[in-house]
Symmetry: C2
Subunit: 155 residues, 2 copies
DNA sequence: GTCGCTGCAAAGTCTTTGCAGAGAG
DNA sequence: CTCTCTGCAAAGACTTTGCAGCGAC
Protein backbone atom coordinates (compact mmCIF):
# COMPACT_ATOMS: atom_id res chain seq x y z
CA UNK A 1 0.00 0.00 0.00
CA UNK A 2 0.82 3.60 -0.27
CA UNK A 3 2.38 6.20 1.93
CA UNK A 4 0.00 8.66 0.40
CA UNK A 5 -2.82 6.57 1.70
CA UNK A 6 -5.51 9.10 2.45
CA UNK A 7 -5.67 10.83 -0.89
CA UNK A 8 -5.08 7.74 -2.94
CA UNK A 9 -7.76 5.62 -1.35
CA UNK A 10 -10.30 8.21 -2.15
CA UNK A 11 -9.09 8.79 -5.61
CA UNK A 12 -9.28 5.14 -6.58
CA UNK A 13 -13.04 5.09 -6.32
CA UNK A 14 -13.26 8.07 -8.60
CA UNK A 15 -10.86 6.47 -10.96
CA UNK A 16 -12.82 3.29 -11.25
CA UNK A 17 -16.01 5.24 -11.68
CA UNK A 18 -14.44 7.17 -14.50
CA UNK A 19 -13.36 3.91 -16.01
CA UNK A 20 -16.82 2.40 -15.79
CA UNK A 21 -18.32 5.51 -17.31
CA UNK A 22 -15.83 5.38 -20.12
CA UNK A 23 -16.59 1.75 -20.79
CA UNK A 24 -20.33 2.20 -20.71
CA UNK A 25 -20.13 5.14 -23.06
CA UNK A 26 -18.37 2.96 -25.60
CA UNK A 27 -20.45 -0.14 -25.13
CA UNK A 28 -17.58 -1.98 -23.52
CA UNK A 29 -17.67 -4.26 -20.55
CA UNK A 30 -16.28 -3.96 -17.07
CA UNK A 31 -14.37 -7.17 -16.48
CA UNK A 32 -12.28 -8.61 -13.69
CA UNK A 33 -9.18 -8.32 -15.86
CA UNK A 34 -9.70 -4.68 -16.61
CA UNK A 35 -10.37 -3.90 -12.99
CA UNK A 36 -7.28 -5.71 -11.78
CA UNK A 37 -5.08 -4.01 -14.34
CA UNK A 38 -6.28 -0.59 -13.26
CA UNK A 39 -5.89 -1.50 -9.60
CA UNK A 40 -2.34 -2.73 -9.90
CA UNK A 41 -1.42 0.27 -12.00
CA UNK A 42 -2.95 2.44 -9.31
CA UNK A 43 -1.21 0.72 -6.42
CA UNK A 44 2.14 1.10 -8.07
CA UNK A 45 4.03 4.33 -7.83
CA UNK A 46 6.32 3.04 -10.51
CA UNK A 47 6.22 3.45 -14.21
CA UNK A 48 5.53 -0.07 -15.41
CA UNK A 49 6.29 -1.92 -18.60
CA UNK A 50 3.47 -4.14 -19.84
CA UNK A 51 5.53 -7.13 -18.85
CA UNK A 52 6.22 -5.82 -15.33
CA UNK A 53 2.57 -5.02 -14.88
CA UNK A 54 1.65 -8.51 -15.99
CA UNK A 55 4.11 -10.04 -13.54
CA UNK A 56 2.69 -7.98 -10.67
CA UNK A 57 -0.81 -9.10 -11.52
CA UNK A 58 0.23 -12.72 -11.53
CA UNK A 59 1.83 -12.30 -8.13
CA UNK A 60 -1.00 -10.45 -6.47
CA UNK A 61 -3.95 -12.08 -8.14
CA UNK A 62 -2.60 -15.52 -8.78
CA UNK A 63 -6.07 -17.01 -8.85
CA UNK A 64 -7.14 -14.83 -11.76
CA UNK A 65 -5.70 -15.61 -15.14
CA UNK A 66 -4.72 -12.51 -17.07
CA UNK A 67 -2.92 -12.94 -20.35
CA UNK A 68 -0.23 -10.57 -21.49
CA UNK A 69 -2.34 -9.82 -24.55
CA UNK A 70 -5.10 -8.50 -22.33
CA UNK A 71 -2.60 -6.29 -20.54
CA UNK A 72 -1.55 -4.81 -23.86
CA UNK A 73 -5.13 -4.43 -24.99
CA UNK A 74 -6.18 -2.73 -21.79
CA UNK A 75 -3.19 -0.42 -21.73
CA UNK A 76 -4.00 0.68 -25.26
CA UNK A 77 -7.57 1.27 -24.29
CA UNK A 78 -6.54 3.28 -21.24
CA UNK A 79 -3.98 5.25 -23.16
CA UNK A 80 -6.39 6.12 -25.95
CA UNK A 81 -8.81 7.32 -23.34
CA UNK A 82 -6.10 9.39 -21.67
CA UNK A 83 -6.36 7.49 -18.41
CA UNK A 84 -2.76 6.40 -18.60
CA UNK A 85 0.20 7.94 -20.32
CA UNK A 86 3.19 6.16 -21.69
CA UNK A 87 6.84 6.98 -21.68
CA UNK A 88 9.10 5.36 -24.21
CA UNK A 89 12.74 5.43 -23.40
CA UNK A 90 15.67 3.80 -25.08
CA UNK A 91 14.97 0.59 -26.88
CA UNK A 92 13.60 -0.87 -23.71
CA UNK A 93 10.05 -0.29 -24.77
CA UNK A 94 7.30 1.70 -23.16
CA UNK A 95 6.46 2.33 -19.55
CA UNK A 96 3.00 3.28 -18.40
CA UNK A 97 1.64 5.31 -15.53
CA UNK A 98 -1.76 6.52 -14.50
CA UNK A 99 -2.42 9.87 -16.06
CA UNK A 100 -4.87 11.00 -13.43
CA UNK A 101 -2.21 12.79 -11.47
CA UNK A 102 -1.01 16.34 -11.76
CA UNK A 103 1.12 16.91 -14.80
CA UNK A 104 4.76 16.27 -14.13
CA UNK A 105 8.01 15.65 -15.89
CA UNK A 106 10.57 12.91 -15.51
CA UNK A 107 14.16 12.43 -14.52
CA UNK A 108 15.38 9.07 -15.71
CA UNK A 109 18.50 7.43 -14.32
CA UNK A 110 20.49 5.80 -17.09
CA UNK A 111 22.23 3.55 -14.57
CA UNK A 112 19.38 2.00 -12.64
CA UNK A 113 16.40 2.95 -14.81
CA UNK A 114 14.70 4.64 -11.93
CA UNK A 115 12.28 7.42 -12.73
CA UNK A 116 11.90 10.46 -10.51
CA UNK A 117 9.04 12.85 -11.10
CA UNK A 118 9.06 16.58 -10.72
CA UNK A 119 6.81 19.50 -11.41
CA UNK A 120 7.82 22.87 -12.75
CA UNK A 121 5.24 25.55 -13.32
CA UNK A 122 7.66 27.78 -15.11
CA UNK A 123 8.41 25.22 -17.77
CA UNK A 124 4.73 24.45 -18.25
CA UNK A 125 4.06 28.11 -18.81
CA UNK A 126 6.87 28.53 -21.32
CA UNK A 127 5.60 25.54 -23.26
CA UNK A 128 2.24 27.16 -23.74
CA UNK A 129 3.82 30.38 -24.88
CA UNK A 130 5.96 28.57 -27.39
CA UNK A 131 3.15 26.58 -28.93
CA UNK A 132 1.16 29.79 -29.33
CA UNK A 133 4.04 31.39 -31.17
CA UNK A 134 4.10 28.51 -33.63
CA UNK A 135 0.34 28.24 -34.02
CA UNK A 136 0.60 24.71 -32.69
CA UNK A 137 -2.34 23.20 -30.85
CA UNK A 138 -0.87 21.44 -27.82
CA UNK A 139 -2.51 18.19 -26.78
CA UNK A 140 0.12 16.80 -24.50
CA UNK A 141 3.75 17.17 -23.67
CA UNK A 142 6.46 15.31 -21.92
CA UNK A 143 9.92 16.08 -20.78
CA UNK A 144 12.62 13.71 -19.77
CA UNK A 145 15.96 14.45 -18.23
CA UNK A 146 18.45 11.62 -18.52
CA UNK A 147 21.36 11.30 -16.18
CA UNK A 148 22.59 9.61 -13.05
CA UNK A 149 20.55 9.71 -9.88
CA UNK A 150 22.10 10.64 -6.57
CA UNK A 151 21.98 7.03 -5.39
CA UNK A 152 23.95 5.74 -8.37
CA UNK A 153 26.46 8.56 -8.15
CA UNK A 154 27.47 7.32 -4.72
CA UNK A 155 28.06 3.75 -5.75
CA UNK B 1 20.66 19.93 -50.79
CA UNK B 2 20.02 22.37 -48.06
CA UNK B 3 18.70 25.86 -47.82
CA UNK B 4 21.14 26.46 -45.04
CA UNK B 5 23.90 25.67 -47.46
CA UNK B 6 26.77 27.85 -46.34
CA UNK B 7 26.96 26.78 -42.72
CA UNK B 8 26.11 23.17 -43.36
CA UNK B 9 28.71 22.58 -46.03
CA UNK B 10 31.35 23.74 -43.73
CA UNK B 11 30.10 21.79 -40.81
CA UNK B 12 30.03 18.52 -42.69
CA UNK B 13 33.80 18.45 -43.04
CA UNK B 14 34.17 18.91 -39.33
CA UNK B 15 31.60 16.26 -38.70
CA UNK B 16 33.34 13.70 -40.82
CA UNK B 17 36.65 14.56 -39.22
CA UNK B 18 35.14 14.03 -35.80
CA UNK B 19 33.80 10.73 -37.01
CA UNK B 20 37.17 9.61 -38.36
CA UNK B 21 38.85 10.62 -35.12
CA UNK B 22 36.29 8.71 -33.16
CA UNK B 23 36.77 5.62 -35.27
CA UNK B 24 40.55 5.77 -35.11
CA UNK B 25 40.48 6.20 -31.37
CA UNK B 26 38.53 2.97 -31.05
CA UNK B 27 40.43 0.97 -33.64
CA UNK B 28 37.47 1.01 -35.99
CA UNK B 29 37.50 1.50 -39.72
CA UNK B 30 36.20 4.26 -41.92
CA UNK B 31 34.11 2.57 -44.57
CA UNK B 32 32.01 3.66 -47.50
CA UNK B 33 28.88 2.50 -45.70
CA UNK B 34 29.62 4.50 -42.59
CA UNK B 35 30.41 7.58 -44.62
CA UNK B 36 27.23 7.34 -46.66
CA UNK B 37 25.08 6.86 -43.60
CA UNK B 38 26.53 9.95 -41.97
CA UNK B 39 26.17 11.92 -45.18
CA UNK B 40 22.54 11.07 -45.74
CA UNK B 41 21.77 11.76 -42.13
CA UNK B 42 23.49 15.09 -42.52
CA UNK B 43 21.72 16.03 -45.73
CA UNK B 44 18.36 15.33 -44.24
CA UNK B 45 16.65 17.89 -42.09
CA UNK B 46 14.22 15.22 -41.04
CA UNK B 47 14.26 12.91 -38.11
CA UNK B 48 14.72 9.55 -39.75
CA UNK B 49 13.76 6.05 -38.79
CA UNK B 50 16.40 3.43 -39.55
CA UNK B 51 14.19 2.16 -42.30
CA UNK B 52 13.66 5.61 -43.85
CA UNK B 53 17.38 6.24 -43.71
CA UNK B 54 18.03 2.95 -45.42
CA UNK B 55 15.56 3.76 -48.17
CA UNK B 56 17.17 7.15 -48.78
CA UNK B 57 20.56 5.54 -49.05
CA UNK B 58 19.30 3.04 -51.58
CA UNK B 59 17.82 5.86 -53.65
CA UNK B 60 20.80 8.17 -53.59
CA UNK B 61 23.62 5.68 -53.65
CA UNK B 62 22.04 2.89 -55.60
CA UNK B 63 25.42 1.57 -56.70
CA UNK B 64 26.54 0.96 -53.13
CA UNK B 65 24.94 -1.90 -51.24
CA UNK B 66 24.13 -1.02 -47.67
CA UNK B 67 22.22 -3.52 -45.61
CA UNK B 68 19.65 -2.51 -43.05
CA UNK B 69 21.72 -4.27 -40.42
CA UNK B 70 24.61 -1.94 -41.13
CA UNK B 71 22.32 1.04 -40.76
CA UNK B 72 21.27 -0.21 -37.35
CA UNK B 73 24.84 -0.97 -36.36
CA UNK B 74 26.08 2.43 -37.46
CA UNK B 75 23.25 4.28 -35.78
CA UNK B 76 24.04 2.50 -32.53
CA UNK B 77 27.65 3.39 -32.89
CA UNK B 78 26.82 7.01 -33.58
CA UNK B 79 24.35 7.20 -30.77
CA UNK B 80 26.71 5.69 -28.24
CA UNK B 81 29.30 8.24 -29.29
CA UNK B 82 26.77 11.04 -28.95
CA UNK B 83 27.00 11.98 -32.59
CA UNK B 84 23.33 11.34 -33.14
CA UNK B 85 20.41 11.38 -30.76
CA UNK B 86 17.26 9.37 -30.99
CA UNK B 87 13.69 10.20 -30.29
CA UNK B 88 11.21 7.48 -29.60
CA UNK B 89 7.62 8.39 -29.97
CA UNK B 90 4.52 6.31 -29.97
CA UNK B 91 4.92 2.72 -30.95
CA UNK B 92 6.34 3.80 -34.25
CA UNK B 93 9.89 3.16 -33.15
CA UNK B 94 12.85 5.47 -32.96
CA UNK B 95 13.83 8.39 -35.12
CA UNK B 96 17.37 9.63 -35.34
CA UNK B 97 18.93 13.00 -35.98
CA UNK B 98 22.43 14.37 -35.94
CA UNK B 99 23.27 15.59 -32.50
CA UNK B 100 25.87 18.07 -33.60
CA UNK B 101 23.38 20.90 -33.66
CA UNK B 102 22.42 23.29 -30.95
CA UNK B 103 20.23 21.69 -28.33
CA UNK B 104 16.58 21.96 -29.15
CA UNK B 105 13.24 20.53 -28.26
CA UNK B 106 10.49 19.05 -30.39
CA UNK B 107 6.93 19.71 -31.31
CA UNK B 108 5.41 16.62 -32.83
CA UNK B 109 2.23 16.70 -34.87
CA UNK B 110 0.02 13.75 -34.01
CA UNK B 111 -1.79 14.11 -37.32
CA UNK B 112 0.99 14.16 -39.88
CA UNK B 113 3.94 13.04 -37.76
CA UNK B 114 5.90 16.12 -38.64
CA UNK B 115 8.49 17.32 -36.17
CA UNK B 116 9.18 20.98 -35.59
CA UNK B 117 12.19 22.01 -33.58
CA UNK B 118 12.47 24.90 -31.21
CA UNK B 119 14.90 26.31 -28.72
CA UNK B 120 14.13 27.80 -25.35
CA UNK B 121 16.89 29.08 -23.13
CA UNK B 122 14.59 29.58 -20.21
CA UNK B 123 13.56 25.96 -20.12
CA UNK B 124 17.15 24.79 -20.47
CA UNK B 125 18.08 26.91 -17.49
CA UNK B 126 15.25 25.65 -15.32
CA UNK B 127 16.20 22.08 -16.12
CA UNK B 128 19.67 22.63 -14.77
CA UNK B 129 18.32 24.20 -11.62
CA UNK B 130 15.96 21.32 -11.05
CA UNK B 131 18.55 18.61 -11.49
CA UNK B 132 20.77 20.42 -9.01
CA UNK B 133 17.99 20.45 -6.45
CA UNK B 134 17.62 16.70 -6.76
CA UNK B 135 21.34 15.95 -6.82
CA UNK B 136 20.83 14.45 -10.23
CA UNK B 137 23.70 14.48 -12.71
CA UNK B 138 22.18 15.49 -16.04
CA UNK B 139 23.59 13.84 -19.14
CA UNK B 140 20.91 14.66 -21.63
CA UNK B 141 17.34 15.78 -21.84
CA UNK B 142 14.56 15.91 -24.30
CA UNK B 143 11.21 17.54 -24.44
CA UNK B 144 8.36 16.81 -26.74
CA UNK B 145 5.15 18.67 -27.22
CA UNK B 146 2.44 16.69 -28.93
CA UNK B 147 -0.41 18.33 -30.75
CA UNK B 148 -1.63 19.47 -34.10
CA UNK B 149 0.52 21.64 -36.31
CA UNK B 150 -0.85 24.76 -37.95
CA UNK B 151 -0.97 23.05 -41.33
CA UNK B 152 -3.12 20.18 -40.08
CA UNK B 153 -5.41 22.52 -38.17
CA UNK B 154 -6.39 24.17 -41.44
CA UNK B 155 -7.27 20.99 -43.24
C1' DG C 1 48.30 -9.95 -44.26
C1' DT C 2 45.31 -8.90 -40.27
C1' DC C 3 41.31 -7.95 -38.16
C1' DG C 4 37.25 -5.34 -38.32
C1' DC C 5 33.16 -4.68 -41.45
C1' DT C 6 29.35 -6.07 -44.32
C1' DG C 7 25.26 -8.36 -46.35
C1' DC C 8 22.42 -11.97 -45.69
C1' DA C 9 19.38 -14.66 -43.32
C1' DA C 10 18.15 -16.50 -39.09
C1' DA C 11 17.02 -15.54 -34.41
C1' DG C 12 15.33 -12.45 -30.91
C1' DT C 13 12.21 -9.00 -28.76
C1' DC C 14 8.16 -6.85 -28.08
C1' DT C 15 3.38 -6.23 -29.59
C1' DT C 16 -0.79 -7.34 -32.15
C1' DT C 17 -4.25 -10.39 -34.04
C1' DG C 18 -7.47 -14.45 -35.11
C1' DC C 19 -10.22 -17.62 -32.98
C1' DA C 20 -13.29 -20.32 -30.24
C1' DG C 21 -14.99 -20.59 -25.81
C1' DA C 22 -16.19 -17.66 -21.44
C1' DG C 23 -18.62 -14.08 -19.31
C1' DA C 24 -20.84 -9.30 -18.63
C1' DG C 25 -25.06 -6.73 -19.40
C1' DC D 1 -29.33 -14.46 -25.01
C1' DT D 2 -26.19 -11.32 -27.31
C1' DC D 3 -22.06 -9.43 -28.24
C1' DT D 4 -17.73 -8.22 -26.16
C1' DC D 5 -13.63 -10.21 -23.76
C1' DT D 6 -10.19 -13.35 -22.91
C1' DG D 7 -6.32 -16.68 -23.18
C1' DC D 8 -3.74 -18.94 -26.29
C1' DA D 9 -0.83 -19.40 -29.93
C1' DA D 10 0.40 -17.73 -34.24
C1' DA D 11 1.68 -13.79 -36.83
C1' DG D 12 3.84 -9.20 -37.25
C1' DA D 13 6.98 -5.44 -36.76
C1' DC D 14 11.31 -4.03 -35.56
C1' DT D 15 16.14 -5.04 -34.13
C1' DT D 16 20.06 -7.82 -33.25
C1' DT D 17 23.30 -11.51 -34.19
C1' DG D 18 26.21 -15.37 -36.40
C1' DC D 19 28.83 -16.22 -40.18
C1' DA D 20 31.79 -16.42 -44.18
C1' DG D 21 33.70 -13.53 -47.45
C1' DC D 22 35.29 -8.57 -48.26
C1' DG D 23 37.94 -4.56 -47.63
C1' DA D 24 40.42 -0.79 -44.85
C1' DC D 25 44.79 -0.03 -42.84
Amino acid sequence: MNKDFSTKTQKYDELIEDFKTLLKKNGLKFTMQREVILKVLYDSDEHLTPEALHRLIQERYADLKVGIATVYRTLSLLENSDMVTSLSFGSQGKKYELGAKEHHDHMICIECGDIQEFVCEEIEKRQEEITKEYGFLMKDHSMQIYGICSKCQKS
